[in-house]
């Protein structure tokens, strides 16, 4: 069975896509708007601007890969689709950062969790950061619009066992567990969202807004690094682009200068500030790259008597928000609980220890349930987040020191997760912490976890990505970025064209094709 590949089809129709391996590359090019990055912010912006009649260039550092090449193997997906082969770390190597680096950005490889920006977060941004006009009521139509565009709806199929453990354990303790909304159409419930959806069910930017923008005449450069903006006076006049060599990590020496009337930075919370730093953007208050948030994650692994099989079925289909609401938002750090996919490389690199100790954990692979806690950083003065810095070669690195305040939140999250896992019938619970052991009962885990040591401005430029947010979101960020950037891009299109831009719609034809594909494969499964 093969699935239609909308990228291969579009390329055959003659999309304007230029890759670093092309024999000729222009020294100079001219557009109305240059967008750096093709993830949630860049994809959403490109579709709106292209359909408003603007000549748009999308610049992507990663490659263009599509469903025909997605073979559900971590060994292929991580080097091809992720920043730094999925091994990006903060400066002191304490936190791993999973971030996309391909056309579609993180939306090509995320686990589809779609939450509107929580009302409490929007209220906090208004009250503490003066972000007026972005309250719940003002944002609702923008979220609705992107939910329709990307088929975002609560997951109605039964959760897989990995998620059901979280639901059962939480409910036994009287905590509310709810289904997560996902951006999917005709999803086959395979469980491989993180390595590129092989059936195009995931409504990532790769299969929605970017094909739509390219059909409307936009241009896409791939394996093209945005090196710096050339600024004259108060205006950016061009973007200097370095094409990458065959390794995809080093400049080949070929360059293009893309001129435009407007520039949109949508390269994400690490790369966008880094581009501004390399461009020598004015930064009188040293704010550039500051307050960068991650939702640091802690992991708790529980072993059951029966097979859990966390590799199969939709990842992250159940969430528990109780611990975001049991204290004031600016009090001790709150956290959201979810159940991630479990695949061999992700699991092997997350589980602590080596030699026999690690081996024993791997032999429990199939019977292991994993719960994660996303810590809501940025809401307390002791949680200032990280700062993006430039290395000597101009590449960005995030300095995110973990202090006691955040680590203490991590400890509370490990306690909550262990209690839920034991309530759901876990035999043992193993927190992912260097000094933690497998615990056989909630009582034992409670004492041991409690004792674990923890220390611990330009005029023609816009930013349309997650680096806009003054704190973390308090939920997986993709729908927040879609909603905010749809609104910003529509405002930009109106400013640049003088007309209210049309709201892009999902195509009916694509939906029919997907449904047909789903029916064809449902039988052999």
């Amino acid at each position: 069975m093969s699935f239609p590949d909308p990228i291969a089809e579009g390329l055959r129709r003659g999309w304007a896509v230029l890759d670093a391996d092309a024999s000729t590359l222009p020294a100079e090019a001219q557009f109305d708007v240059v967008i750096v990055g093709t993830g949630a912010g860049g994809g959403t912006t490109a579709e709106i601007l292209a359909h408003a009649g603007l000549r748009v260039l999308l610049v992507e550092e990663g490659p263009l890969r599509s469903s025909g090449e997605f073979r559900m193997r971590e060994a292929e997906a991580y080097p091809q689709l992720y920043q730094e082969s999925a091994a990006r770390l903060t400066k002191d190597k304490a936190i791993g950062i999973l971030q996309g680096r391909c056309v579609g950005g993180s939306t090509t490889v995320n686990w589809t969790s779609s939450f509107r920006t929580p009302a409490a977060t929007l209220a906090f941004w208004r009250d503490r950061f003066g972000l007026d006009g972005f309250d719940e009521a003002a944002m609702a139509p923008w979220f609705e619009r992107m939910e329709r565009r990307l088929s975002i709806a609560p997951w109605t199929m039964a959760p897989n066992e990995n998620n059901d453990v979280l639901r059962r354990g939480a409910e036994r303790l009287g905590l509310r567990a709810a289904p997560i909304a996902r951006n999917v159409r005709g999803c086959l419930n395979l469980g491989y969202c993180g390595v590129g959806c092989p059936t195009n069910a995931k409504q990532s930017m790769l299969v929605t807004t970017i094909p739509s923008a390219l059909d409307a005449g936009a241009t896409l450069y791939t394996r093209a690094r945005a090196t710096r903006l050339i600024v004259e006076g108060e205006r950016a006049v061009a973007l200097e682009i370095d094409w990458l060599d065959a390794t995809g990590t080093r400049p080949s020496g070929r360059r293009t200068r893309a001129k435009a009337a407007h520039f949109v930075l949508a390269a994400g919370a690490i790369a966008s500030p880094a581009l501004l730093m390399r461009s020598g953007a004015p930064d009188p208050h040293r704010l550039l790259g500051a307050r960068t948030f991650l939702h640091p994650v802690v992991v708790s692994a529980a072993v059951f008597d029966r097979i859990v099989g966390g590799w199969a079925g939709a990842p992250q289909s159940v969430y528990v928000d109780h611990f975001l609401h049991d204290a004031p938002i600016d009090g001790p750090i709150g956290y959201k609980l979810e159940a991630p996919p479990i695949h061999p490389v992700l699991f092997a690199t997350t589980m602590t220890g080596f030699g026999d100790e690690h081996r024993r954990r791997m032999l429990d692979f199939a019977r292991t349930q994993a719960t994660i806690a996303l810590l809501r950083d940025g809401f307390h003065e002791r949680s200032p987040g990280g700062r993006v810095e430039l290395r000597d070669d101009g590449s960005p690195v995030l300095d995110y020191p973990l202090d006691d305040f955040v680590l203490e939140g991590g400890r509370r999250a490990l306690l909550s997760m262990a209690e839920i896992q034991f309530a759901a019938g876990a035999r043992t619970v193993q927190p992912a912490h260097e000094l933690a052991l497998p615990y056989r009962s909630w009582r034992e885990a409670r004492e041991a976890i409690a004792a674990l040591p923890v220390h611990g401005q330009g005029r023609n430029g816009s930013v349309h990505d997650g680096s806009l947010f003054p704190t973390s979101v308090g939920a997986n960020p993709q729908l927040s970025i879609y909603g905010f950037t749809a609104r910003l891009a529509s405002g930009l299109a109106q400013r640049l064209t003088g007309r209210v831009p049309p709201a892009p719609q999902a195509s009916q034809k694509a939906a029919t094709q997907e449904t047909a594909a789903m029916q064809e494969t449902a039988a052999p499964q």
Binding site: R73, T249, P296, V299, P344, T349, H358, R411, H433
Partner: protein, 164 residues
């Protein structure tokens, strides 16, 4: 996060130290690739202990497959990270810095699995964040490369991705 203790903040100082060893090693003409192999061929049997065959020939084959996997992963990292790792391997291979960082008087080739395991165990919670970082990097590189290999999947009960 919180997967390790955050000890004394000696990161910057120790990075300078490491840089100095890297530079010194270059002056005495050491080869980066040989250093990397020497260290990894000692580390891999310790990290994968229990997950490697015991018969000599299959064992040697599994170790070289894991080494190849780690080298492929390193080749995909950013130039900055590759440079950082190269400095680490240079410093670990050169005798004076090996003694200082790993407490190992003999060469990696002569060290037994238990001795290497003791070094790694010490780094997990070392007061130098540099060595904790080295442990984390070697842990992720080696175990990631090992379990990316389909040959290991049946043994841990992973059926592999679905086939269409």
């Amino acid at each position: 996060m919180a997967t390790r203790r955050d000890f004394l903040k000696l990161g910057a100082g120790s990075a300078l130290l490491l840089g100095a060893f890297g530079i010194a090693s270059r002056y005495v003409g050491r080869n980066g690739l040989d250093d990397r192999r020497e260290v990894l061929l000692a580390m891999i049997p310790a990290v994968l202990d229990g997950a490697l065959p015991s018969a000599p020939e299959p064992r040697a084959h599994a170790i070289s497959a894991a080494l190849a996997g780690v080298e492929t992963t390193i080749a995909g990292l950013t130039p900055a990270t590759q440079d950082e790792l190269a400095s680490l391997f240079l410093a670990l291979a050169a005798a004076p810095s090996r003694l200082l960082l790993a407490g190992l008087a003999k060469s990696w080739r002569e060290a037994g699995v238990d001795e290497v395991a003791a070094v790694l165990q010490g780094w997990r919670t070392h007061r130098l964040t540099l060595l904790q970082g080295a442990y984390q990097a070697l842990h992720k590189l080696t175990l990631g490369a090992a379990y990316a290999d389909e040959a290991r999947w049946a043994d841990i009960g992973y059926p592999g991705p679905p086939r269409f």
